[in-house]
Each structure stands twice: as C-alpha cells, then as structure tokens.
Symmetry: C2
Subunit: 144 residues, 2 copies
C-alpha cells in the first residue's frame, strides 16, 4: 500500500464576493489547484455534535467545502499521524483529500452543517473502506 | 439569435439518502441528464425577499441545486414566454438552464437560501448579459 501522509491534505482559501441580496462564494474551478477530474457532486449534512467516521477511499480524491456551519475534520494516515482542521463559514477554505487518508468529521454548528464534496469519480462502493468510530485512538476534542 | 424556449429548462428530481448524523443529498453526476462539462462550481446566497434579476448567459449552461431554503426562479425567453419554478428543500430538484434564457430568483426562506451552480465553463463576464429588475413586465407573485 502506498504511503500517503496527512500533510498531503491540501487547504485552499476560497473567496466570498459581497453582493447585495446575498454573497457569491467560490467553490472549485477546473483550473484550480487540487482539481483532478469531475465525477460527481453531493452534499453531506452533519448535525450538531454528530460524527461521521471513519472512511477512506482507495481511488477517489475529494474536494470538500463547508458553505454552511462549522465542521471539525480529522485525518489519519498509515503511519498513525493525525491532523485536525476546523473549517466552515468563518474559515472558508477547500480541503483536497487524496486517496488512502482516513477521515472523519463532526458537526460543530448549532444547526446542520453542510459539507459539499466534488469528487473526481462517480461513487463506487468497492473503493471505499470503513472503520468503526472507536477503531482509532482519537479524541474528538472540542475545537469550538 | 437562436430561439430557446423556457420549456427547455430541465427539472430533475434529486435523491436524499437518510443517514444517521445527517442525510446525503445528491447533486450532479457526470453521467446525469443535463451534464455537459465541468467548468466551475460556486454558491450564490439569496436573502429572504431579495431578488437577483435579470441575467442570461450566451454560452454557459447552468445546473442549479438549492440544498438550503426555498427559491423562486423565473425564466423568460426571446418570445416573452414566462416560466416560474419554486425549488428548495421540500422540492429537491436540479434545474438545468441552457444559454439564452433570461432568469432571476428570489429568496423565500426565513433565513438565507443557497443556490449551488455547477457551470459547464469557468465564469467569463463577456458572455453574460444583464438587465435591470424592472426591464421585464414580470410580477414576483408570492408563491410561498
């Protein structure tokens, strides 16, 4: 199995453009750093204090944006290195997650948070690995 | 100028998949009806009772999804035909808007609504035409 470090998770600041009636918020351009291909886009809602973990993809690269709410992400690589990132409307960035990184996320907003994923391939369950929440020795510290 | 009818605006129902911790909401697959190419994805916030209108694209095809809130869309074609669609979390569909259709939209949710656009090309202001809100004889009837 290739070794992919949690350091390879890419963080790209995104622009919000002020518009009367409601802002425009950038997401992903095909010319952007981190873009590989377009396969599918979907939303994953995450409720307050709920955790979705753990999952990793063997082939898919994910581009994640949180336009609503606050989400705590955790990443773990094959060497057991851990990385945490808190992203959302006050830290409006895109996370690019390469294959082979274990990840999970927790909703920290008082309402539902929304994670948008622009994936470079259409969902295919055979390239997804899952583990139980407790299968890593990771503490979901309160970051917010 | 080619004639494109408001009837060519495509409406595609989208799936929500119930998941503990927060639902998964489909958006757009590259194999879906209405998908032409991937250029850019961005969000347009629309505040309650605010209207963004009118705009049309000469080249871009838009794929619009409203994951949060309720948005009233209005479409006008070269022959002056009008079409209205109310979409949002209770009517979770994708709107595919071909070039040359004038469109505008109004926020009907008590909070901000979010319109996601998956465009088949990167934004290029030279292919966008704009008109003042009052330039069409259109009444934003209260649909909700």
């Amino acid at each position: 199995m290739r070794n992919v470090s949690v350091n390879s998770v890419l963080i790209t600041p995104l622009k919000k453009i002020e518009v009367i009636g409601g802002d425009i918020m950038h997401g992903l351009k095909k010319t952007d750093n981190g873009f590989k291909d377009f396969g599918e886009i979907y939303f994953s809602i995450i409720k307050r204090d709920s955790i979705k973990a753990w999952k990793r993809h063997l082939q898919m690269t994910l581009n994640l944006v949180v336009p609503v709410g606050y989400v705590q992400f955790a990443f773990i690589d094959n060497n057991g290195n851990i990385r945490e990132e808190l992203v959302g409307q006050d830290r409006y960035v895109r996370l690019t997650i390469p294959p082979l990184i274990w990840f999970g996320f927790k909703g920290l907003y008082k309402y539902d948070s929304i994670v948008m994923n622009v994936a470079d391939m259409v969902h295919n369950d055979s390239e997804v690995e899952r583990r139980e929440l407790k299968s890593f020795n990771f503490l979901w510290r309160k970051l917010r």
